[in-house]
Protein backbone atom coordinates (compact mmCIF):
# COMPACT_ATOMS: atom_id res chain seq x y z
CA UNK A 1 0.00 0.00 0.00
CA UNK A 2 2.75 2.38 1.00
CA UNK A 3 4.66 1.73 -2.20
CA UNK A 4 1.59 2.42 -4.27
CA UNK A 5 1.14 5.78 -2.58
CA UNK A 6 4.75 6.60 -3.27
CA UNK A 7 4.42 5.84 -6.96
CA UNK A 8 1.33 8.02 -7.18
CA UNK A 9 3.31 10.87 -5.65
CA UNK A 10 5.86 10.41 -8.38
CA UNK A 11 3.19 10.63 -11.04
CA UNK A 12 1.90 13.86 -9.54
CA UNK A 13 5.41 15.24 -9.37
CA UNK A 14 6.03 14.28 -12.98
CA UNK A 15 2.91 16.18 -14.02
CA UNK A 16 4.24 19.22 -12.18
CA UNK A 17 7.63 19.15 -13.91
CA UNK A 18 6.73 21.22 -17.02
CA UNK A 19 5.43 24.07 -14.86
CA UNK A 20 8.44 23.85 -12.54
CA UNK A 21 10.84 23.98 -15.46
CA UNK A 22 8.94 26.94 -16.84
CA UNK A 23 8.98 28.94 -13.63
CA UNK A 24 12.65 28.23 -13.02
CA UNK A 25 13.64 28.98 -16.61
CA UNK A 26 11.50 32.05 -17.21
CA UNK A 27 11.01 33.50 -13.74
CA UNK A 28 13.63 32.44 -11.21
CA UNK A 29 16.74 32.46 -13.39
CA UNK A 30 15.90 35.90 -14.87
CA UNK A 31 15.37 37.04 -11.27
CA UNK A 32 19.07 36.47 -10.61
CA UNK A 33 19.66 38.95 -13.41
CA UNK A 34 18.88 41.73 -10.97
CA UNK A 35 22.63 41.60 -10.35
CA UNK A 36 22.88 43.62 -13.57
CA UNK A 37 21.66 46.59 -11.55
CA UNK A 38 25.03 46.58 -9.81
CA UNK A 39 27.09 46.26 -12.99
CA UNK A 40 28.31 48.45 -15.80
CA UNK A 41 26.99 46.23 -18.58
CA UNK A 42 28.63 46.14 -21.96
CA UNK A 43 27.81 43.79 -24.81
CA UNK A 44 31.47 42.87 -25.25
CA UNK A 45 31.97 41.72 -21.67
CA UNK A 46 28.55 40.14 -21.28
CA UNK A 47 26.71 39.26 -18.11
CA UNK A 48 29.63 37.69 -16.28
CA UNK A 49 32.48 39.84 -17.56
CA UNK A 50 30.99 43.30 -17.01
CA UNK A 51 32.53 45.09 -14.04
CA UNK A 52 30.79 45.62 -10.72
CA UNK A 53 29.96 49.20 -9.91
CA UNK A 54 28.11 48.88 -6.62
CA UNK A 55 25.24 51.29 -6.21
CA UNK A 56 26.40 53.83 -8.77
CA UNK A 57 23.49 53.09 -11.15
CA UNK A 58 21.04 53.82 -8.35
CA UNK A 59 23.01 56.87 -7.36
CA UNK A 60 22.81 58.23 -10.88
CA UNK A 61 19.06 57.61 -11.04
CA UNK A 62 18.68 59.47 -7.79
CA UNK A 63 20.95 62.42 -8.55
CA UNK A 64 19.57 62.97 -12.04
CA UNK A 65 16.13 63.39 -10.48
CA UNK A 66 14.67 60.70 -12.75
CA UNK A 67 13.95 58.33 -9.91
CA UNK A 68 11.77 60.88 -8.16
CA UNK A 69 10.03 61.82 -11.41
CA UNK A 70 9.11 58.30 -12.50
CA UNK A 71 8.11 57.27 -8.98
CA UNK A 72 5.89 60.32 -8.53
CA UNK A 73 4.25 59.83 -11.94
CA UNK A 74 3.69 56.10 -11.43
CA UNK A 75 2.06 56.56 -8.02
CA UNK A 76 -0.07 59.58 -8.96
CA UNK A 77 -1.30 58.05 -12.21
CA UNK A 78 -2.22 54.81 -10.47
CA UNK A 79 -4.20 56.66 -7.81
CA UNK A 80 -6.00 58.75 -10.44
CA UNK A 81 -6.70 55.62 -12.52
CA UNK A 82 -8.12 53.60 -9.62
CA UNK A 83 -10.41 56.36 -8.39
CA UNK A 84 -11.78 57.53 -11.73
CA UNK A 85 -12.29 54.08 -13.19
CA UNK A 86 -13.92 52.52 -10.15
CA UNK A 87 -16.10 55.49 -9.21
CA UNK A 88 -17.46 55.54 -12.75
CA UNK A 89 -17.78 51.75 -12.86
CA UNK A 90 -19.86 51.82 -9.68
CA UNK A 91 -22.24 54.39 -11.23
CA UNK A 92 -22.46 52.29 -14.38
CA UNK A 93 -23.30 49.17 -12.38
CA UNK A 94 -25.93 50.99 -10.30
CA UNK A 95 -27.67 52.42 -13.36
CA UNK A 96 -27.44 49.29 -15.51
CA UNK A 97 -28.93 47.13 -12.76
CA UNK A 98 -31.58 49.67 -11.77
CA UNK A 99 -32.90 51.06 -15.04
CA UNK A 100 -35.94 49.65 -16.81
CA UNK A 101 -35.36 48.57 -20.40
CA UNK A 102 -32.99 45.63 -19.99
CA UNK A 103 -32.37 45.30 -23.72
CA UNK A 104 -31.06 48.85 -23.99
CA UNK A 105 -28.94 48.70 -20.85
CA UNK A 106 -27.48 45.37 -21.97
CA UNK A 107 -26.55 46.84 -25.33
CA UNK A 108 -24.99 49.86 -23.65
CA UNK A 109 -22.96 47.56 -21.42
CA UNK A 110 -21.70 45.65 -24.46
CA UNK A 111 -20.63 48.94 -26.00
CA UNK A 112 -18.78 49.95 -22.83
CA UNK A 113 -17.02 46.57 -22.82
CA UNK A 114 -15.87 46.91 -26.45
CA UNK A 115 -12.67 48.93 -25.76
CA UNK A 116 -11.41 46.13 -23.49
CA UNK A 117 -10.94 43.89 -26.51
CA UNK A 118 -8.77 46.09 -28.70
CA UNK A 119 -5.00 46.26 -28.64
CA UNK A 120 -3.29 49.24 -27.02
CA UNK A 121 -1.56 49.82 -30.35
CA UNK A 122 -4.98 50.55 -31.85
CA UNK A 123 -5.74 52.82 -28.91
CA UNK A 124 -2.55 54.72 -29.80
CA UNK A 125 -3.94 55.21 -33.33
CA UNK A 126 -7.23 56.45 -31.90
CA UNK A 127 -5.50 59.07 -29.77
CA UNK A 128 -3.33 60.19 -32.69
CA UNK A 129 -6.43 60.48 -34.86
CA UNK A 130 -8.09 62.77 -32.34
CA UNK A 131 -5.16 64.85 -31.07
CA UNK A 132 -2.71 65.12 -33.97
CA UNK A 133 -1.88 68.80 -34.55
CA UNK A 134 -2.15 68.88 -38.35
CA UNK A 135 -5.02 66.48 -38.98
CA UNK A 136 -6.62 65.60 -35.63
CA UNK A 137 -10.41 65.59 -35.42
CA UNK A 138 -10.27 67.75 -32.30
CA UNK A 139 -8.49 70.50 -34.21
CA UNK A 140 -10.81 70.09 -37.19
CA UNK A 141 -13.64 70.70 -34.78
CA UNK A 142 -11.95 73.64 -33.03
CA UNK A 143 -11.23 75.31 -36.38
CA UNK A 144 -14.83 74.77 -37.45
CA UNK A 145 -16.08 76.74 -34.46
CA UNK A 146 -13.35 79.38 -34.96
CA UNK A 147 -11.15 78.44 -32.03
CA UNK A 148 -7.39 78.11 -31.87
CA UNK A 149 -6.12 74.59 -32.61
CA UNK A 150 -4.15 72.95 -29.80
CA UNK A 151 -0.74 71.39 -30.27
CA UNK A 152 -1.38 68.55 -27.85
CA UNK A 153 1.85 66.65 -28.47
CA UNK A 154 3.87 69.67 -27.32
CA UNK A 155 1.75 70.40 -24.26
CA UNK A 156 2.69 68.16 -21.30
CA UNK A 157 -0.03 69.37 -18.98
CA UNK A 158 -3.03 67.98 -20.88
CA UNK A 159 -1.64 64.42 -20.90
CA UNK A 160 -2.58 63.42 -17.38
CA UNK A 161 -6.17 64.14 -18.39
CA UNK A 162 -5.89 62.33 -21.72
CA UNK A 163 -4.24 59.26 -20.17
CA UNK A 164 -6.73 59.11 -17.31
CA UNK A 165 -9.60 59.42 -19.75
CA UNK A 166 -8.38 56.65 -22.04
CA UNK A 167 -7.54 54.41 -19.13
CA UNK A 168 -11.16 54.75 -18.02
CA UNK A 169 -12.27 54.25 -21.59
CA UNK A 170 -10.44 50.92 -21.71
CA UNK A 171 -11.46 49.54 -18.30
CA UNK A 172 -14.95 50.80 -17.34
CA UNK A 173 -16.89 47.99 -18.99
CA UNK A 174 -14.58 45.39 -17.46
CA UNK A 175 -14.59 46.88 -13.95
CA UNK A 176 -18.34 47.42 -13.80
CA UNK A 177 -18.94 43.68 -14.25
CA UNK A 178 -17.55 42.97 -10.81
CA UNK A 179 -19.87 45.51 -9.20
CA UNK A 180 -22.82 44.26 -11.23
CA UNK A 181 -22.18 40.76 -9.87
CA UNK A 182 -22.27 42.11 -6.32
CA UNK A 183 -25.50 44.05 -6.93
CA UNK A 184 -27.23 40.99 -8.39
CA UNK A 185 -26.42 39.08 -5.21
CA UNK A 186 -28.00 41.67 -2.86
CA UNK A 187 -31.09 40.37 -1.05
CA UNK A 188 -34.19 41.73 -2.83
CA UNK A 189 -36.11 41.90 0.45
CA UNK A 190 -34.07 44.88 1.54
CA UNK A 191 -35.36 46.87 -1.44
CA UNK A 192 -38.95 45.69 -0.94
CA UNK A 193 -38.88 46.75 2.70
CA UNK A 194 -37.46 50.13 1.71
CA UNK A 195 -40.18 50.62 -0.89
CA UNK A 196 -42.90 49.89 1.66
CA UNK A 197 -41.32 52.46 3.97
CA UNK A 198 -41.56 54.93 1.10
CA UNK A 199 -37.86 55.32 0.38
CA UNK A 200 -37.09 56.90 -2.99
CA UNK A 201 -34.98 55.16 -5.60
CA UNK A 202 -32.06 57.43 -4.80
CA UNK A 203 -32.30 56.63 -1.13
CA UNK A 204 -32.38 52.90 -1.91
CA UNK A 205 -29.20 53.31 -3.95
CA UNK A 206 -27.53 55.37 -1.26
CA UNK A 207 -28.54 53.29 1.77
CA UNK A 208 -28.69 49.77 0.32
CA UNK A 209 -26.72 49.40 -2.93
CA UNK A 210 -23.69 51.58 -2.20
CA UNK A 211 -22.99 50.11 1.27
CA UNK A 212 -23.01 46.65 -0.33
CA UNK A 213 -20.44 47.77 -2.91
CA UNK A 214 -18.07 49.42 -0.44
CA UNK A 215 -16.35 46.23 0.82
CA UNK A 216 -15.68 45.08 -2.75
CA UNK A 217 -14.35 48.51 -3.64
CA UNK A 218 -12.04 48.53 -0.61
CA UNK A 219 -10.65 45.12 -1.48
CA UNK A 220 -10.05 46.15 -5.08
CA UNK A 221 -8.48 49.39 -3.87
CA UNK A 222 -6.08 47.50 -1.61
CA UNK A 223 -5.19 44.98 -4.32
CA UNK A 224 -4.49 47.83 -6.71
CA UNK A 225 -2.42 49.63 -4.08
CA UNK A 226 -0.29 46.49 -3.88
CA UNK A 227 0.51 47.01 -7.57
CA UNK A 228 0.99 50.75 -7.34
CA UNK A 229 4.62 50.65 -8.45
CA UNK A 230 3.68 48.94 -11.70
CA UNK A 231 2.34 51.01 -14.53
CA UNK A 232 -0.01 50.46 -17.41
CA UNK A 233 2.98 50.13 -19.68
CA UNK A 234 1.02 49.46 -22.89
CA UNK A 235 -1.17 52.49 -22.34
CA UNK A 236 1.66 54.94 -21.76
CA UNK A 237 4.00 53.64 -24.40
CA UNK A 238 1.45 53.51 -27.20
CA UNK A 239 0.02 56.93 -26.49
CA UNK A 240 3.21 58.81 -25.64
CA UNK A 241 5.86 56.72 -27.37
CA UNK A 242 9.30 58.27 -27.46
CA UNK A 243 8.12 61.88 -27.26
CA UNK A 244 10.59 63.28 -24.75
CA UNK A 245 8.81 66.65 -24.61
CA UNK A 246 6.08 64.98 -22.58
CA UNK A 247 8.19 62.81 -20.27
CA UNK A 248 8.03 65.12 -17.30
CA UNK A 249 4.31 64.59 -17.02
CA UNK A 250 4.04 61.09 -18.49
CA UNK A 251 7.13 58.99 -17.81
CA UNK A 252 6.46 56.07 -15.46
CA UNK A 253 8.84 53.38 -14.21
CA UNK A 254 7.80 50.82 -16.81
CA UNK A 255 8.25 53.17 -19.75
CA UNK A 256 11.61 54.27 -18.36
CA UNK A 257 12.80 50.66 -18.10
CA UNK A 258 11.53 49.83 -21.56
CA UNK A 259 13.20 52.85 -23.13
CA UNK A 260 16.48 52.18 -21.41
CA UNK A 261 16.33 48.72 -22.97
CA UNK A 262 15.21 49.42 -26.55
CA UNK A 263 16.29 53.01 -27.20
CA UNK A 264 19.35 53.74 -25.06
CA UNK A 265 20.43 50.14 -24.41
CA UNK A 266 21.46 51.27 -20.93
CA UNK A 267 21.20 47.86 -19.30
CA UNK A 268 22.57 48.87 -15.88
CA UNK A 269 20.18 51.79 -15.49
CA UNK A 270 17.17 49.81 -16.72
CA UNK A 271 17.92 46.94 -14.33
CA UNK A 272 18.40 49.36 -11.45
CA UNK A 273 15.04 51.03 -12.07
CA UNK A 274 13.42 47.60 -12.46
CA UNK A 275 14.92 46.28 -9.24
CA UNK A 276 13.87 49.43 -7.39
CA UNK A 277 10.33 48.93 -8.70
CA UNK A 278 10.19 45.25 -7.75
CA UNK A 279 11.69 45.68 -4.30
CA UNK A 280 9.55 48.65 -3.33
CA UNK A 281 6.53 46.86 -4.83
CA UNK A 282 7.26 43.80 -2.66
CA UNK A 283 7.40 45.92 0.50
CA UNK A 284 4.12 47.62 -0.38
CA UNK A 285 2.39 44.32 -1.12
CA UNK A 286 3.49 42.90 2.24
CA UNK A 287 2.17 46.02 3.98
CA UNK A 288 -1.12 45.92 2.11
CA UNK A 289 -1.55 42.24 2.80
CA UNK A 290 -0.95 42.84 6.49
CA UNK A 291 -3.59 45.56 6.34
CA UNK A 292 -6.15 43.31 4.60
CA UNK A 293 -5.48 40.61 7.17
CA UNK A 294 -6.48 42.98 9.93
CA UNK A 295 -9.58 44.29 8.14
CA UNK A 296 -10.89 41.25 6.33
CA UNK A 297 -8.79 38.07 6.72
CA UNK A 298 -10.78 36.16 4.05
CA UNK A 299 -9.44 38.41 1.35
CA UNK A 300 -5.78 38.28 2.34
CA UNK A 301 -3.50 37.33 -0.52
CA UNK A 302 -1.36 34.98 1.54
Amino acid sequence: MMRKRESKQWMLFLMLVPALVYFILFQYIPMSGILLAFKQYSIRDGFFGSPWVGFSNFKFLWISGQLWRITRNTVLYNIAFIITTHATAIFVAVFISGLAGKKITKTIHSVLFLPYFISFVVLGVFVYNILSYEFGSLNTFLKAINMEPVNAYAEPLIWPLVLTFFNMWKWIGYSSIIYLAVIVAIDKQAYEAAQIEGATVWKQVWYITIPHLVPTFIIILLLQLGKIMRGQFDLFYNIIGNNSQLFDATDVIDTYVFRSLVHNFDIGMGSAAGLYQSALGLVIILLVNWLIRRVHPDYALF
Binding site: L99, S119, V121, N129, T140, I172, V201, Q277, S278
Partner: protein
Amino acid sequence: MKKIYSDVLSFHIIGYVFLFILAIACVLPFVLVVSGSLTPEQHIYEHGYRLWPKEVSFDAYKIILSSPDTIGRAYIVSMGVTFFGTAGSLFISSMTAYVLSRKEFQYRNHFAIMIYFTTIFTGGMVPMYIWMVNFLNLKDNYLAIIMPTFLTAWNILLLRNFIKSIPEEVIESAQMDGASHFTIYSRIILPLAVPGLVTIGLFISLHYWNDWAQARLFIEDPDMFTLPYLLYNTINRFDALSRTVAGSGIPMPDMPTQSLKLAIAIISIGPMVFLFPILQKYFIKGLTVGAVKG
Protein backbone atom coordinates in the same frame (compact mmCIF):
# COMPACT_ATOMS: atom_id res chain seq x y z
CA MET B 1 -47.03 58.03 -4.32
CA LYS B 2 -46.39 60.95 -6.60
CA LYS B 3 -43.09 61.58 -4.91
CA ILE B 4 -41.84 58.06 -5.61
CA TYR B 5 -42.84 58.38 -9.25
CA SER B 6 -40.92 61.59 -9.71
CA ASP B 7 -37.89 59.89 -8.24
CA VAL B 8 -38.14 56.91 -10.54
CA LEU B 9 -38.35 59.39 -13.39
CA SER B 10 -35.29 61.39 -12.31
CA PHE B 11 -33.33 58.17 -11.74
CA HIS B 12 -34.13 57.04 -15.28
CA ILE B 13 -33.38 60.38 -16.90
CA ILE B 14 -30.06 60.86 -15.13
CA GLY B 15 -29.15 57.20 -15.54
CA TYR B 16 -29.83 57.07 -19.25
CA VAL B 17 -28.12 60.39 -19.94
CA PHE B 18 -25.06 59.21 -18.00
CA LEU B 19 -24.91 55.85 -19.77
CA PHE B 20 -25.50 57.38 -23.20
CA ILE B 21 -22.69 59.89 -22.74
CA LEU B 22 -20.32 57.07 -21.77
CA ALA B 23 -21.48 54.89 -24.66
CA ILE B 24 -20.92 57.71 -27.13
CA ALA B 25 -17.46 58.34 -25.65
CA CYS B 26 -16.70 54.65 -26.16
CA VAL B 27 -17.90 54.49 -29.75
CA LEU B 28 -16.71 57.89 -30.96
CA PRO B 29 -13.02 56.94 -31.44
CA PHE B 30 -14.09 53.91 -33.50
CA VAL B 31 -16.31 56.09 -35.70
CA LEU B 32 -13.58 58.69 -36.13
CA VAL B 33 -11.04 56.11 -37.24
CA VAL B 34 -13.41 54.40 -39.68
CA SER B 35 -14.31 57.80 -41.07
CA GLY B 36 -10.66 58.82 -41.38
CA SER B 37 -9.79 55.59 -43.18
CA LEU B 38 -12.51 56.33 -45.75
CA THR B 39 -11.50 59.96 -46.36
CA PRO B 40 -9.54 60.82 -49.54
CA GLU B 41 -5.95 61.76 -48.67
CA GLN B 42 -6.32 65.24 -50.19
CA HIS B 43 -9.19 66.03 -47.82
CA ILE B 44 -7.20 64.94 -44.79
CA TYR B 45 -4.38 67.29 -45.75
CA GLU B 46 -6.77 70.17 -46.38
CA HIS B 47 -9.33 69.73 -43.63
CA GLY B 48 -7.99 67.12 -41.20
CA TYR B 49 -9.79 64.06 -39.89
CA ARG B 50 -13.46 64.61 -39.20
CA LEU B 51 -16.45 62.82 -37.76
CA TRP B 52 -18.01 62.18 -41.14
CA PRO B 53 -16.09 62.14 -44.44
CA LYS B 54 -17.20 64.75 -46.98
CA GLU B 55 -16.41 62.32 -49.71
CA VAL B 56 -15.92 58.57 -49.39
CA SER B 57 -12.89 56.86 -50.88
CA PHE B 58 -11.87 53.24 -50.52
CA ASP B 59 -8.33 53.89 -51.78
CA ALA B 60 -6.64 52.91 -48.54
CA TYR B 61 -8.44 49.57 -48.36
CA LYS B 62 -7.86 48.92 -52.07
CA ILE B 63 -4.12 49.42 -51.63
CA ILE B 64 -3.99 47.07 -48.67
CA LEU B 65 -6.04 44.41 -50.41
CA SER B 66 -3.97 44.70 -53.58
CA SER B 67 -0.88 43.63 -51.64
CA PRO B 68 -2.26 41.35 -48.98
CA ASP B 69 0.98 39.44 -48.39
CA THR B 70 2.35 41.36 -45.43
CA ILE B 71 -0.90 41.76 -43.57
CA GLY B 72 -1.95 38.23 -44.45
CA ARG B 73 1.31 36.92 -43.03
CA ALA B 74 0.89 38.93 -39.84
CA TYR B 75 -2.61 37.54 -39.50
CA ILE B 76 -1.30 34.00 -39.79
CA VAL B 77 1.53 34.69 -37.31
CA SER B 78 -0.91 36.16 -34.80
CA MET B 79 -3.32 33.28 -35.22
CA GLY B 80 -0.52 30.74 -34.81
CA VAL B 81 0.93 32.43 -31.73
CA THR B 82 -2.56 32.75 -30.24
CA PHE B 83 -3.50 29.14 -30.99
CA PHE B 84 -0.31 27.42 -29.83
CA GLY B 85 0.23 29.79 -26.92
CA THR B 86 -3.30 29.31 -25.65
CA ALA B 87 -3.46 25.56 -26.18
CA GLY B 88 -0.09 24.94 -24.56
CA SER B 89 -0.77 27.29 -21.69
CA LEU B 90 -4.17 25.74 -20.97
CA PHE B 91 -2.76 22.21 -21.04
CA ILE B 92 0.14 22.85 -18.67
CA SER B 93 -1.79 25.29 -16.44
CA SER B 94 -4.64 22.83 -15.93
CA MET B 95 -2.29 19.89 -15.34
CA THR B 96 -0.42 21.93 -12.74
CA ALA B 97 -3.71 23.07 -11.23
CA TYR B 98 -4.82 19.44 -10.89
CA VAL B 99 -1.62 18.46 -9.08
CA LEU B 100 -1.91 21.44 -6.74
CA SER B 101 -5.51 20.51 -5.98
CA ARG B 102 -4.63 16.96 -4.81
CA LYS B 103 -4.52 16.87 -1.02
CA GLU B 104 -2.41 13.69 -1.00
CA PHE B 105 0.40 15.49 -2.82
CA GLN B 106 2.90 16.23 -0.08
CA TYR B 107 4.61 19.43 -1.07
CA ARG B 108 1.71 21.08 -2.84
CA ASN B 109 1.78 24.17 -0.65
CA HIS B 110 5.50 24.67 -1.17
CA PHE B 111 5.06 24.52 -4.91
CA ALA B 112 2.03 26.80 -4.79
CA ILE B 113 4.07 29.37 -2.89
CA MET B 114 6.92 29.02 -5.34
CA ILE B 115 4.52 29.74 -8.20
CA TYR B 116 2.73 32.50 -6.33
CA PHE B 117 5.93 34.32 -5.41
CA THR B 118 6.49 35.20 -9.07
CA THR B 119 3.50 37.55 -8.92
CA ILE B 120 4.91 39.66 -6.11
CA PHE B 121 8.55 39.81 -7.14
CA THR B 122 10.08 39.72 -10.61
CA GLY B 123 13.49 40.36 -12.03
CA GLY B 124 12.03 42.92 -14.39
CA MET B 125 12.15 43.41 -18.11
CA VAL B 126 15.88 43.98 -18.59
CA PRO B 127 17.25 40.81 -16.96
CA MET B 128 14.54 38.85 -18.78
CA TYR B 129 15.66 40.35 -22.07
CA ILE B 130 19.35 39.56 -21.49
CA TRP B 131 18.50 35.99 -20.45
CA MET B 132 16.22 35.35 -23.42
CA VAL B 133 18.50 36.89 -26.04
CA ASN B 134 22.03 36.18 -24.83
CA PHE B 135 21.57 32.84 -23.09
CA LEU B 136 18.54 31.15 -24.63
CA ASN B 137 19.11 32.62 -28.11
CA LEU B 138 15.42 33.24 -28.62
CA LYS B 139 15.76 36.34 -30.79
CA ASP B 140 13.54 35.96 -33.88
CA ASN B 141 11.86 32.89 -32.46
CA TYR B 142 8.11 32.57 -31.95
CA LEU B 143 8.81 31.08 -28.53
CA ALA B 144 10.04 34.53 -27.46
CA ILE B 145 6.54 35.91 -28.01
CA ILE B 146 4.82 33.01 -26.29
CA MET B 147 7.08 32.25 -23.34
CA PRO B 148 7.30 35.43 -21.22
CA THR B 149 3.59 35.25 -20.37
CA PHE B 150 3.01 31.53 -20.98
CA LEU B 151 2.10 30.45 -17.43
CA THR B 152 0.78 32.83 -14.82
CA ALA B 153 0.15 32.09 -11.16
CA TRP B 154 -3.22 33.76 -11.44
CA ASN B 155 -4.49 31.38 -14.15
CA ILE B 156 -3.15 28.31 -12.38
CA LEU B 157 -4.73 29.25 -9.06
CA LEU B 158 -8.03 30.12 -10.73
CA LEU B 159 -8.07 26.73 -12.47
CA ARG B 160 -7.15 25.03 -9.20
CA ASN B 161 -10.19 26.59 -7.54
CA PHE B 162 -12.29 25.43 -10.46
CA ILE B 163 -10.98 21.85 -10.23
CA LYS B 164 -11.52 21.82 -6.47
CA SER B 165 -15.24 22.34 -7.11
CA ILE B 166 -15.40 18.98 -8.94
CA PRO B 167 -16.81 16.39 -6.47
CA GLU B 168 -14.07 14.37 -4.77
CA GLU B 169 -16.04 11.10 -5.19
CA VAL B 170 -15.58 11.23 -8.96
CA ILE B 171 -11.81 11.21 -8.54
CA GLU B 172 -11.80 8.66 -5.70
CA SER B 173 -13.86 6.13 -7.62
CA ALA B 174 -11.49 6.41 -10.58
CA GLN B 175 -8.57 5.84 -8.20
CA MET B 176 -10.33 2.71 -6.89
CA ASP B 177 -10.45 1.44 -10.45
CA GLY B 178 -6.69 1.86 -10.62
CA ALA B 179 -6.57 4.89 -12.90
CA SER B 180 -3.30 6.81 -12.77
CA HIS B 181 -3.29 10.51 -11.98
CA PHE B 182 -2.57 11.41 -15.57
CA THR B 183 -5.50 9.32 -16.76
CA ILE B 184 -7.76 10.93 -14.19
CA TYR B 185 -6.57 14.34 -15.30
CA SER B 186 -6.94 13.76 -19.02
CA ARG B 187 -10.11 11.62 -19.01
CA ILE B 188 -12.10 13.04 -16.12
CA ILE B 189 -10.83 16.44 -15.03
CA LEU B 190 -10.31 18.01 -18.45
CA PRO B 191 -13.83 17.28 -19.75
CA LEU B 192 -15.40 18.46 -16.50
CA ALA B 193 -13.31 21.63 -16.45
CA VAL B 194 -14.30 22.77 -19.94
CA PRO B 195 -16.30 25.84 -18.83
CA GLY B 196 -13.38 27.09 -16.73
CA LEU B 197 -10.90 26.31 -19.51
CA VAL B 198 -13.00 28.20 -22.06
CA THR B 199 -13.13 31.32 -19.92
CA ILE B 200 -9.45 31.35 -19.03
CA GLY B 201 -8.56 30.34 -22.58
CA LEU B 202 -10.37 33.43 -23.84
CA PHE B 203 -8.37 35.71 -21.56
CA ILE B 204 -5.12 34.06 -22.63
CA SER B 205 -5.96 34.20 -26.33
CA LEU B 206 -7.03 37.85 -26.16
CA HIS B 207 -3.70 38.58 -24.52
CA TYR B 208 -1.70 36.78 -27.24
CA TRP B 209 -3.81 38.23 -30.04
CA ASN B 210 -3.15 41.78 -28.85
CA ASP B 211 0.55 41.30 -28.11
CA TRP B 212 2.99 43.77 -29.53
CA ALA B 213 5.47 44.34 -26.69
CA GLN B 214 7.16 40.91 -26.84
CA ALA B 215 7.38 41.21 -30.62
CA ARG B 216 8.88 44.67 -30.19
CA LEU B 217 11.56 43.24 -27.92
CA PHE B 218 12.40 39.96 -29.58
CA ILE B 219 11.36 40.00 -33.25
CA GLU B 220 13.34 41.75 -35.97
CA ASP B 221 12.41 39.65 -39.00
CA PRO B 222 9.44 41.43 -40.69
CA ASP B 223 8.04 38.07 -41.78
CA MET B 224 7.52 37.16 -38.14
CA PHE B 225 5.63 40.28 -37.02
CA THR B 226 2.40 39.82 -35.13
CA LEU B 227 -0.55 41.85 -36.35
CA PRO B 228 -0.49 44.50 -33.60
CA TYR B 229 3.27 44.85 -33.98
CA LEU B 230 2.93 45.25 -37.74
CA LEU B 231 0.43 48.01 -37.03
CA TYR B 232 2.75 49.55 -34.45
CA ASN B 233 5.58 49.58 -36.97
CA THR B 234 3.45 50.96 -39.76
CA ILE B 235 2.34 53.87 -37.61
CA ASN B 236 5.67 54.73 -36.14
CA ARG B 237 7.99 54.14 -39.07
CA PHE B 238 7.58 55.40 -42.56
CA ASP B 239 9.79 52.74 -44.13
CA ALA B 240 7.70 50.06 -42.48
CA LEU B 241 4.57 51.47 -44.06
CA SER B 242 6.14 51.33 -47.51
CA ARG B 243 7.10 47.69 -46.91
CA THR B 244 3.60 46.78 -45.79
CA VAL B 245 2.09 47.98 -49.06
CA ALA B 246 5.10 47.25 -51.28
CA GLY B 247 3.18 44.96 -53.63
CA SER B 248 0.65 47.62 -54.61
CA GLY B 249 2.95 49.20 -57.21
CA ILE B 250 2.08 52.73 -56.12
CA PRO B 251 5.07 55.06 -55.70
CA MET B 252 5.53 56.13 -52.10
CA PRO B 253 4.89 59.88 -52.55
CA ASP B 254 1.41 59.10 -53.96
CA MET B 255 0.62 56.80 -51.07
CA PRO B 256 -2.35 57.93 -48.93
CA THR B 257 -0.33 57.46 -45.75
CA GLN B 258 -2.73 59.15 -43.31
CA SER B 259 -5.80 57.14 -44.29
CA LEU B 260 -3.69 54.00 -44.76
CA LYS B 261 -2.61 53.91 -41.10
CA LEU B 262 -6.21 54.06 -39.98
CA ALA B 263 -7.32 51.45 -42.49
CA ILE B 264 -4.68 49.03 -41.21
CA ALA B 265 -5.91 49.67 -37.65
CA ILE B 266 -9.47 48.90 -38.72
CA ILE B 267 -8.45 45.71 -40.52
CA SER B 268 -6.49 44.54 -37.48
CA ILE B 269 -9.42 44.96 -35.08
CA GLY B 270 -11.98 43.55 -37.52
CA PRO B 271 -12.14 39.97 -36.18
CA MET B 272 -12.23 41.14 -32.55
CA VAL B 273 -15.21 43.39 -33.17
CA PHE B 274 -17.11 40.58 -34.87
CA LEU B 275 -16.16 37.84 -32.43
CA PHE B 276 -16.64 39.92 -29.36
CA PRO B 277 -20.45 39.94 -29.03
CA ILE B 278 -20.36 36.13 -29.22
CA LEU B 279 -17.59 35.73 -26.67
CA GLN B 280 -18.68 38.46 -24.27
CA LYS B 281 -20.81 36.27 -22.04
CA TYR B 282 -17.89 33.93 -21.33
CA PHE B 283 -15.74 36.85 -20.26
CA ILE B 284 -18.48 38.06 -17.97
CA LYS B 285 -18.92 34.60 -16.50
CA GLY B 286 -15.20 34.27 -15.87
CA LEU B 287 -14.95 37.69 -14.26
CA THR B 288 -17.91 36.98 -12.04
CA VAL B 289 -16.41 33.69 -10.85
CA GLY B 290 -13.15 35.51 -10.12
CA ALA B 291 -15.02 38.21 -8.20
CA VAL B 292 -16.89 35.74 -6.03
CA LYS B 293 -13.70 33.89 -5.20
CA GLY B 294 -12.07 37.23 -4.38
